[in-house]
């Protein structure tokens, strides 16, 4: 565990909204958390800052898939971001930070 920080509990599973997103704050960073109960994994975490729209809004986008990649659409200008890699589908130069999260009993924890 020396390479990892202590897991941080972000919220309860019951705080998540199925097939949609919310925002958590950890170490001063805004993290957009998406909960897709039918998928594996069930929880995805990327940065909440939209580098194209320049606002903290990605947790409020619509989730779905484009060519089998699970994505969120920015609510500002509708670019799609891959929830697994953070890559912007429309502009591969733009990539969002991705956070490792997992479900631990009834909580969502940040694991790195």
């Amino acid at each position: 565990m020396t390479d990892h920080k202590q897991p941080t509990v972000l919220c309860k599973i019951s705080d998540l909204i199925p097939n949609s997103g919310i925002c958590a704050k950890a170490q001063g960073t805004q993290i957009a958390l998406f909960y897709l109960p039918e998928e594996t994994p069930q929880v995805y975490a990327i940065g909440n800052w939209d580098p194209i729209g320049k606002a903290n809004v990605l947790s409020r986008g619509i989730v779905g898939d484009i060519n089998q990649r699970v994505v969120v659409a920015s609510p500002l200008y509708k670019q799609h971001f891959d929830l697994v890699t953070g890559e912007c589908i429309e502009d591969s130069e733009v990539t969002l930070p991705v956070f490792a999260v997992e479900i631990n009993e009834d909580s969502v924890v940040l694991t790195d």
Binding site: L10, C11, D15, I17, P18, N19, S20, I22, C23, A24, K25, A26, Q30, L33, L36, W49, G53, K54, A55, N56, V57, R60, G61, I62, V63, G64, D65, I66, N67, Q68, V70, V71, A73, P75, L76, K78, H80
Partner: protein
């Protein structure tokens, strides 16, 4: 370089100059116009009274001519042509040399020699100055009469109607528009025009016009049959006469009844002088339409080039809207050929008249008359112009077609030279070329060729050709809304309705694949709301909503939201206005009054939305649905309650309409307005549905739009009572919701609707599809299940959980920064944001 002088700057003279500049001919051009202003659109002159200014009507400007290198002079008419010395001299005494002279002097209105016609309240209708005169004479007037029931006369009647006068048309002949229409068509036109409140008097010879000393009006007209008519203003529009005096004085050959004689080259009896447009006489005929004038201009220009083209007469077919009535005339409308066969269709209930005249062998179209419905015009014109062999039963061309059936003329039958869009002169060949060049959709072809971007009359035909050509190339027309559903929105609506699906997951499972996306989810969310009207933030719906619907507020560029309570009809009490101010002040919101007559409050952080809305709802406000693809506002003027001119209570109607349709989810936003009289202060003719009061009830307009591509609404029905008005709107809106594409406003929907306005009228007014009761019943379900979504939300703690910036902290988003400007807050610019964040770090 050839020295060309053009006399006259009407539409044809202007076209000549423009085309000559654009040609490869090296010419020095001098232009001399008699009117004080450069060329303007005479065809749409009556719109001057509907609010179009002289600038709007202008086709060009002095500056533009200067840029083109044209030496242009206005307001100084030519008085003399000296053919020996090849000069012209103006009334101010200026003299210009020419090598080639072009006469585009146009025509003037004919005023019949009636005693009293020189009274100052007797006017003509031809120029912008004439309009100014009509307007001046109409001040304090109640009644106006147009003498002349032809095309121009009816245009003039439209002008008087726009001025709010009780309008009469007096015609010497037994029918209206005798040149373009047969007796039956003329009778139907009369019936329709009278229904619009214009009184028509035919077979009337005016004998004398006298001052009316006793009555309430200024003048009295006395007719040969002993009748009389009291009026304040008279407009003469009884035909045109060519302006040929200059030519006469110069000794050029003119026709017996006027007009400068020209040959195939548009040359007069002096081969260095051309005449074009309405002053010219070709084959013993004056061509009183603008299109033939343009063709003459082009032919005349070509004579200066190495590749001259002859003018060979022109087709006088025409399609126009007179007083809002569609009228079309093709070829010979009277069936002068004694062997010809005529087919007539007339429906007095919907006031539509159609007639075609066919050659004796039944193979060729010789002429056609259309009144009340011009949807067949383009097809018929193609048959006529291209000599296409008619189908075995020609009557099928004008019989009412069943919804969904193909137009009679297959696109493949048309030759490449066939003109499809006459506004922009686009042929079928141009369209095929565009598709060959890779413009493989209707929209792409439209933007490449400009086809169907003028009057839009050829929309259905254009679509037909594009579909046909695409199919011929084996290109599939992909109408899927996204990769998850191989259906159009219209198909999805139908599937969901018939399947009775209540959630996105059910629809996805039955008819889609994958997980869905930001295209199909909101589309289906909207369809579900239009059909069943569930609360949009229910667990099974919330993931489908765009962020604006999710937070019941409009996201702004910095991630904050705007708050827009409903102010139905724009009517608000002082107490409520104070509450808006107090709430804005308390939460530090930027306040702006909108075009839709309400007040927007900007800059609310997501976590403050519930508290703000609680205060608003406690004060009696409800949600304004500014965030939804839904009914937005119904704007109104103060109406008959306060206004001296109002004829109906527009505010009460606006309140009723807004409250009826509030919360209705639709393919795109919906806006409406109600005006209390024809002055139209509420701008209803730019709305998705607009209502204008009349003495007898309400006129309904549909499918207008402001915004990026403004569209004037179409007059849909007139003088409706309250109940019928609402019934038609119910049906109209539900039909739009059923059939439109996603994010398609009513204006674009209408432009793409096969059969257009007439088809829509048949569906809504005559119930041609037999669905009216169902549409009404659906609307009544929506109206009956309305809820204020904000009220529901603030009463449900589960829903409120989401209205936080962070799930695990009560902190604010520190990257939302405001700057004060003009006494209010605004979002920081990117640079200001960086500076602020550095300061605080």
């Amino acid at each position: 370089m050839i020295n060309v002088v053009v006399i006259g700057n009407g539409m044809v003279g202007h076209h000549y100059v423009e085309q000559l500049v654009n040609s490869e001919i090296d010419a020095k051009i001098t232009l001399i116009g008699g009117e004080p202003r450069p060329a303007y659109d005479r065809v749409h002159l009556s719109e001057f009274f509907a609010g179009r200014s002289p600038e709007d009507l202008a086709l060009t400007t002095r500056e533009h001519y200067a840029e083109l290198g044209v030496d242009a002079h206005f307001g100084d008419p030519v008085e003399r042509i000296d053919r020996d010395n090849k000069t012209v001299t103006t009334s101010c005494g200026r003299t210009f040399d020419y090598e080639k002279l072009v006469l585009a002097t146009g025509s003037y209105p004919f005023v019949p020699p009636i005693k009293g016609c020189d009274h100052q309240a007797c006017t003509v209708y031809r120029t912008i100055d004439d309009l100014g005169n009509i307007q001046a004479q109409s001040k304090n007037a109640k009644v106006g009469v147009v003498v002349g029931g032809g095309l121009l006369g009816l245009e003039a009647a439209n002008a008087l109607k726009h001025l709010g006068l009780e309008t009469h048309v007096v015609e010497f002949a037994p029918g209206l528009m005798g040149v373009q229409l047969d007796t039956g068509g003329s009778a139907m036109l009369r019936r329709k025009i009278e229904a619009l409140g214009v009184q028509v008097h035919t077979s009337k010879a005016t004998q004398i016009i006298e001052e009316n000393s006793a009555g309430e009006t200024r003048l009295e007209m006395k007719f040969a049959d002993g009748d009389s008519l009291a009026t304040d203003v008279i407009v003469f529009s009884a035909g045109i006469r060519p302006y040929d005096q200059l030519a006469r004085d110069a000794g050029l050959k003119v026709g017996e009844r006027g007009g400068i004689d020209i040959d195939y080259h548009c040359k007069t009896s002096d081969s260095d002088i051309f005449a074009i447009g309405e002053c010219a006489l070709f084959g013993g005929r004056i061509f009183g339409l603008v299109a033939p004038g343009y063709r003459m201009a082009e032919a005349a220009i070509s004579q200066l080039s190495s590749d001259p083209i002859p003018f060979q007469g022109a087709d006088m077919s025409t399609k126009l809207k007179l007083l809002g009535v569609d009228v079309g005339s093709i070829g010979d409308p009277h069936g002068k050929d004694p062997d010809s066969i005529a087919y007539t269709f007339s429906d007095e209930r919907i006031e539509v008249y159609k007639r075609i005249i066919v050659s004796a062998d039944g193979k060729k179209l010789l002429g056609a008359v259309l009144v009340g419905d011009c949807s067949d015009y383009d097809t018929l014109l193609q048959y006529f112009l291209n000599d296409i062999e008619l189908p075995k039963d020609p009557e099928t061309l004008i019989l009412p077609y069943n919804a969904g059936s193909e137009p009679a003329l297959g696109a493949a039958a048309l030759p490449a030279t066939a003109t499809i869009c006459s506004c922009h002169n686009v042929s079928k060949g141009d369209i095929v070329d565009a598709i060959d060049a890779g413009h493989c959709s209707l929209a792409a072809v439209k933007s490449e060729t400009a086809a169907s971007t003028g009057c839009g009359g050829c929309t259905a035909l254009l679509k037909n050709i594009v579909d046909d050509e695409m199919a011929a190339r084996g290109l599939e027309v992909n109408t899927s809304i996204c990769e998850h559903f191989a259906h159009t929105r219209q198909e999805l609506f139908h599937l969901i309705k018939v399947g009775g699906f209540k959630t996105f997951d059910e629809v996805l499972e039955k008819h889609g694949s994958g997980r869905g996306c930001d295209i199909c989810k909101p589309t289906i969310g909207s369809i579900l709301a239009s059909l069943w009207n569930d609360y949009v933030l229910k667990d099974q719906h919330v993931g489908l909503q765009d962020t604006n619907d999710t937070f019941l507020a409009n996201m702004q560029k910095n991630g904050t939201y705007s708050v827009v309570p409903r102010i139905a009809g724009g009517e608000i009490t002082p107490d409520k206005l104070i509450v808006l101010g107090q709430v804005a002040k308390k939460y530090n919101l930027y306040t702006k009054i909108t075009g839709g007559q309400r007040v927007d409050l900007f800059g609310a952080r997501v976590q403050h939305l519930p508290a703000i809305w609680k205060e608003l709802i406690d004060a009696g406000f409800e949600t304004g649905h500014a965030y939804g693809k839904a009914l937005r506002t119904v704007k109104s003027c103060v109406g008959s309650t306060w206004c001296r001119y109002g004829v109906q209570d527009s505010v009460a109607m606006a309140l009723y309409v807004e409250n009826r349709y509030k919360g209705l989810r639709s393919p795109h936003k919906l806006k409406s307005a109600v005006s209390g009289c024809t002055r139209e202060c509420a701008e209803a003719q730019s709305k998705d549905f607009g209502i204008i009061a009349t003495e007898n009830g309400w006129n309904l307009f549909v499918c207008g739009n402001g915004g990026m591509k403004p569209r004037h609404a179409d007059l849909f029905a007139t003088d409706l009572d309250d109940e019928t008005l609402i019934k038609y709107i119910d049906r109209f809106l539900m039909f739009y919701i059923r059939t439109a594409d996603r994010l398609q406003r009513t204006s674009v929907w209408m432009d793409n609707l096969e059969g257009g306005l007439e088809y829509l009228k048949r569906v809504v007014i005559e119930d041609s599809l037999g669905i009216a009761a169902e549409l009404e019943q659906q609307m009544s379900h929506i109206v009956g299940t309305y809820q204020c979504e904000w009220k529901t939300t603030i009463e449900d703690p589960e829903r409120l959980k989401r209205f936080k910036q962070f799930v695990n902290s009560d902190q604010e988003d520190e990257q939302i920064v405001f700057i004060e400007e003009r006494g209010q807050l605004r979002p920081a610019t990117e640079q200001e944001l960086q500076t602020k964040l550095q300061e605080s770090a």
